[in-house]
């Protein structure tokens, strides 16, 4: 069967769809320039289950659940569900953790960097430049023979674990819904103020997540791969999707009055130029070494990739570390231990990039 979403126009269409849905999610209640942010939302999930207690970023984000389950459904429908695992899971776990820490120094993953730019936040220019810089370092390692090794075909159960975890999270959301003015409902934490308290209605958030998950699984949409393929192969296929997202989000933001140009006073952002750049260098490098942006890792986990699932869990645990130990930035500025965490993350990524090379 021909996969029309994996064509040039297919991926541009998917980018347009995401670029329309994300600002709409903001319009429906998600935080500013955060219609979809994989890093922020996984961080909110870490808070919702109490892995960290930063009370402004705790919410079981249905978009993330939808990404994984939408991808699973699309993969099953297209007979593209391929359970596999076994490619350096411990390395992928830590790459996920440090990717998250880098993203939380910037305050957003590549998806949010695009949405911030589409909302007029010029700090995102530094973030995107850092992202491209980090990916460029990654391409040097890839050219030098870097590999995380082969995965193996695995029983279906392996590929179903993360989708089942997400289905369980969804069940928790229904069993323990938000209670007016209460920070805890059963086993789930809910923010009463801050970005964690801002969210679109559950049905809309879950629906948008499922749609994006399905479309992205079929089209292989990847914000990191877009720049990697350009740098590595001079190929613009994936870039078409990313640019379509940016243009669509810009148009929808203008139409909805959500566009405001400048560096200062942007929603959930700081204007430390160096750290906006450097945070995303770390994130971009970690994503490049792991073979996909945080969204793509969720979509691959949905289609059965147990190694991507480990990367996702690494990101969630990394978010908990980031907020428990003062590594994450806030609109007030860099976290008290952001510098040390960044140095450690860069050292780890450079070590892995140099140490894991296939024998010539």
């Amino acid at each position: 069967m021909k996969n029309s979403l994996a064509t040039r126009w297919g991926i541009i269409g998917v980018g347009l769809a995401i670029g329309v849905l994300a600002p709409l999610l903001q319009f429906w209640g998600n935080p500013g320039n955060m219609g979809v942010c994989v890093a922020c939302f996984e961080r909110d999930i870490a808070g919702a289950v109490g892995l960290h207690r930063a009370d402004v970023v705790q919410y079981m984000r249905p978009e993330i659940i939808g990404f994984v389950l939408g991808s699973l459904l699309a993969a099953l429908a297209a007979k593209d569900f391929r359970p596999r695992a076994g490619s350096a899971p411990i390395v992928r776990f830590l790459l996920g953790a440090f990717a998250m820490i880098g993203a939380l120094i910037f305050l957003g993953c590549p998806w949010r960097a695009l949405l911030r730019l589409a909302g007029g936040d010029l700090n995102a220019v530094l973030g995107l430049a850092g992202l491209i810089g980090g990916i460029w370092i990654g391409t040097l390692f890839l050219r030098g023979g870097f590999t995380l090794g082969r995965s193996q075909q695995a029983p279906a159960a392996v590929g179903l674990i993360l989708p089942l975890v997400m289905a369980f999270f969804l069940a928790l959301l229904f069993i323990f819904p938000a209670q007016e003015g209460q920070p805890v409902s059963g086993v789930l934490f809910y923010s009463l103020k801050g970005p964690g308290a801002q969210h679109a209605p559950l049905v809309l958030a879950l629906g948008a997540g499922l749609i994006i998950g399905g479309l992205a699984q079929r089209s292989r949409f990847c914000t990191m791969g877009a720049f990697r393929d350009l740098l590595l192969f001079r190929q613009t296929h994936l870039l078409g999707g990313v640019l379509a997202l940016l243009v669509a989000a810009l148009v929808v933001n203008l139409a909805l009055g959500q566009f405001r140009l400048g560096f200062e006073g942007q929603p959930v952002a700081h204007a430390l130029h160096f750290w906006n750049f450097a945070g995303m260098v770390l994130a971009g490098l970690a994503f490049a070494l792991a073979g996909g942006c945080p969204g793509r890792q969720l979509f691959m986990a949905g289609e059965g990739d147990g190694d991507s699932a480990v990367f996702v869990l690494g990101m969630i645990v990394g978010a908990a570390f980031a907020h428990n130990f003062g590594l994450a930035s806030s609109p007030k500025g860099l976290g008290p231990h952001g510098l040390e965490a960044w140095l450690l993350g860069m050292a780890f990524c450079l070590f892995i990039g140099l140490a894991m090379r296939k024998k010539a």
Binding site: R82, T147, Q153, C222, G225, D229, G292, D307
Partner: protein, 72 residues
């Protein structure tokens, strides 16, 4: 005997890197590329076409694909 690139189980973008390396090394002829995800199949096909190689055949066997690409 065609050269074979075994890219099964490798993460993005290694199947494409390995296939392109083989295309560059041989210059012309026939190469068989083994992959085990649909995404890798699409990516290798796209890279081959972009480098002036023709995808002659894609054979599927229990979740794996054998791509035959050639250039005269």
């Amino acid at each position: 005997m065609a050269e074979t690139v075994d890219a099964r189980g490798l993460s993005c973008p290694q199947p494409v890197l390995d296939a392109l390396a083989a295309m560059k090394r041989l210059g012309s002829g026939t190469i068989e590329v083994l992959v085990d995800t649909e995404a890798s199949k699409e990516n290798v096909s796209r890279a081959a076409a972009g480098s002036g190689w023709r995808v002659e055949n894609v054979a599927e066997n229990s979740g794996e694909y054998r791509l035959t690409i050639s250039k005269s």
